[in-house]
């Protein structure tokens, strides 16, 4: 170990930090005798950056040399920055050493493209393979799929990694063509679809033969940059819903565009669109865990998420005819739709009401955000109903922060 590694780490961690995926969850890889590490389905954040993001994985690029010139990316060919490249052994050693000290859950490895896609992908796979086979490493590995990598390499990546991701980068192919002219949706969807089939196949085989070698147990995810191109939130959420449904993605990450260049292909922003990013995560959360459909949250008349109010509240205000919900008898799905009631509280409500009639005090004890929920529930002790119109509620709740579905980036667990 020497100063060169230190220098490389600075450069290649710095270049990787804009990749937002930090999740180490969703895998369940047990340790083996004499082995090192495991992955738990919950995942662990070992630290948090000063902007409050979870640090769970050693997130680095293998190299920031790149033959492409994507306008939104710090590593683009035309950018005048310091370049570096790790060797396979260096990444393996850093991962093992950090892991043994309980700094990390594992490795998130991405890379700029040097020479060509397969040449790069092959090295990423080698690192994962060495970790698994030479070092008996059972911690978490997330590999980025290099656009255009061959099926064989994608297949091998699945054998050693827990999660794989092919990034869409931008919410539409038209935008991609302008901002990252060398890339295409095809290059992303091909490996994504290949993987989807391979995972389905693996699960099927696994049922018949439990010795089937483990394959990408934490599935795949993708990422897109938000605010660098003109797509609406409706467009974005529709796309995400399709990715969850058709490609079986585990996660879609939204990354508020941070101006890393003054390339004319990109808008000039004063600050990254963090509120919008936050709202998208909230909406995404509602789709994945609260039973909402994307078109219940945004539609042609309201193609953008509200900046001031969270999407669940906005939904309720637009659909006052569905409220108030009578908590004592309402189905779980409807309780979940009440602003101020999260998944945990909803489950507790359903459990508690079997033994006792609910009232406002009990709801407070179950950590329901009564201040928000009170406009939308029918429960003894709550006398607020009827007199309120959506506009009045908006006014009263202005400036309040929802606590029941914070976006993923701020959460402890995925």
């Amino acid at each position: 170990m020497n100063e060169r590694v230190q220098e490389k780490l600075k450069i290649l961690a710095d270049a990787a930090k804009y990749d937002v995926s930090c999740a180490s969850s969703g895998s369940d890889r047990k340790n083996k005798a004499g082995g090192m590490g495991n992955s738990t389905s919950m995942g662990i954040c070992h630290s948090y950056t000063e902007d409050g993001r979870c640090v769970s994985l050693l997130k680095v690029l293998l190299t920031n040399y790149c033959i492409y010139d994507c306008a939104y990316c710090v590593s683009r060919k035309s950018n005048d920055i310091k370049r570096a490249a790790f060797t396979v052994e260096e990444v393996v050693d850093l991962t093992m050493s950090f892991y043994k000290r309980n700094y990390i859950e594992g490795l998130f490895l991405s890379s700029g493209i040097f020479k060509n896609a397969d040449y790069t992908m092959e090295r990423l796979v080698r690192i994962a393979k060495d970790l698994r086979t030479l070092h008996n490493f059972n911690g978490y590995i997330h590999l980025k799929l290099i656009p255009g990598a061959s099926d064989e390499l994608v297949q091998q990546a699945g054998l050693y990694a827990d999660r794989l991701s092919a990034n869409l980068e931008l919410p539409s192919e038209a935008s991609l063509k302008i901002i990252a002219p060398e890339k295409s949706y095809d290059q992303v969807y091909l490996p994504m679809n290949y993987l989807k089939e391979a995972i389905v196949e693996y699960r099927r085989e696994k049922k018949q033969n439990r010795h089937t070698p483990i394959f990408a147990p934490a599935g795949q995810s993708t990422q897109m940059v938000i605010g660098a191109s003109p797509e609406t939130d409706l467009h974005i959420l529709k796309l995400s819903s399709e990715l969850y449904q058709n490609q079986n993605l585990k996660r879609v990450y939204y990354s508020g565009y941070i101006p890393v260049s003054n390339d004319t292909r990109l808008p000039t922003l004063v600050a990254p669109p963090l509120v919008r990013e936050n709202r998208l995560y909230q909406a995404d959360w509602l789709i994945r865990f609260y039973g909402f459909k994307y078109n219940e949250i945004v539609d042609d008349r309201n193609p953008h998420l509200d900046e001031q109010y969270d999407p669940k509240l906005v939904y309720a205000l637009r659909n006052m005819h569905l409220f108030p919900v009578t908590l004592q008898t309402a189905p779980y799905e409807m309780i979940l739709r009440v602003p101020g009631i999260g998944v945990k509280s909803a489950q507790k409500i359903v459990a508690a009401r079997r033994y006792h009639s609910l009232h406002l005090d009990l709801l407070k004890k179950l950590r329901v955000a009564v201040n928000r929920a009170k406009y939308f529930i029918n429960v003894p002790g709550n006398h607020l109903l009827k007199q309120y119109y959506p506009e009045m509620i908006r006014k009263e709740l202005a400036g309040e922060n929802p606590t029941d579905h914070q976006p993923q980036q701020l959460m402890l667990f995925a």
Binding site: V5, T49, D51, L58, R101, A271
Partner: protein, 265 residues
């Protein structure tokens, strides 16, 4: 929830040896002798004024009695209840014995799991304490930082708010099965040492009074400080200044943990 009083029982202050078995024995004796404790205390703990002039009753721990109570807990409440009550016992909450006692009165009265009876105070208390414990255990899983010693042992000093080592260490046994390691609770002055076999309890004579938990270079392996430096560098480079949000950072990593975190040294 106040336990029902009947005229036949005696209100007493009870003293036990501070073990979980001891506490379960207390519960057993309360049934056998028809006692209603108003205070259950560990032997030797300072007496509260209220009881200064009363003579507490000392309960001697009895394995068989404790096992019978434990079997009852599992029978009616299932393994989840058993584990939750043990967590309450470890929570260091000032009322933990009475909470366990009252919970068990109720469980044995209903003869089925009462986890969701949130309208009853003691049930809610248990669920909140379990949540608190879960958070602290999770923090230990996250914030333990091993330092490699010259002899290859990985050593981590910690100082959790609650005595969670008995609950948190299994995670490390699974994860670091191929390593020799020791996690040391400097507040309670004991540690768990793992060298492949069963985990052993150790007590060390070491000085941890420094500002950070970084061990002196003489005891560390040749590469340890270099790896610490690499991790600190890495941590620094993960920050995105445009997104800085220290409030959120502090909520996730309260400053009292900083001296254990390599990246904060």
């Amino acid at each position: 929830m106040v336990v029902q009083k009947t005229t036949a029982v005696d209100e007493v202050q009870l003293v036990y040896d501070g073990t979980y078995e001891g506490l379960l024995t207390v519960v057993f004796e309360c049934y056998r002798l028809k006692l209603t404790p108003i205070e259950i205390q560990v032997q030797g703990a300072p007496a509260k004024d209220l009881f200064a002039n009363r003579q507490p009753l000392t309960i001697t721990t009895d394995k068989t009695s404790a096992e019978r109570v434990a079997a009852g807990i599992t029978k009616y409440g299932g393994r989840q209840t058993a584990s939750e009550l043990y967590q309450v016992f470890l929570s260091e909450n000032g009322q933990r014995e009475m909470i366990v006692y009252q919970y068990l009165r109720l469980l044995f009265e209903k003869q089925k799991a009462i986890n969701a009876h949130y309208h009853i105070d003691v049930v809610l208390q248990v669920s909140q304490l379990v949540k608190q414990m879960g958070r602290e255990i999770h923090r230990m899983h996250a914030f333990v930082r091993f330092q490699e010693l010259a002899d290859g042992l990985y050593f981590a000093p910690i100082e959790p708010d609650i005595d969670v080592l008995p609950l948190a260490h299994q995670h490390f046994v699974k994860r670091y099965a191929a390593m020799r390691w020791c996690i040391y609770d400097i507040k309670r002055n004991y540690g768990l040492l793992y060298e492949g076999g069963p985990v052993q309890t150790v007590v060390l004579d070491m000085d941890f009074s420094g500002n950070t938990m970084q061990l002196p270079a003489e005891v560390l392996s040749a590469n340890e400080l270099a790896y610490q430096q690499l991790w600190k560098d890495y941590f620094k480079s993960t920050n995105i200044t445009e997104r800085k949000n220290l409030k959120l950072h502090l909520r996730h990593v309260p400053s009292r943990y900083w001296k254990y975190l390599t990246e904060k040294w």
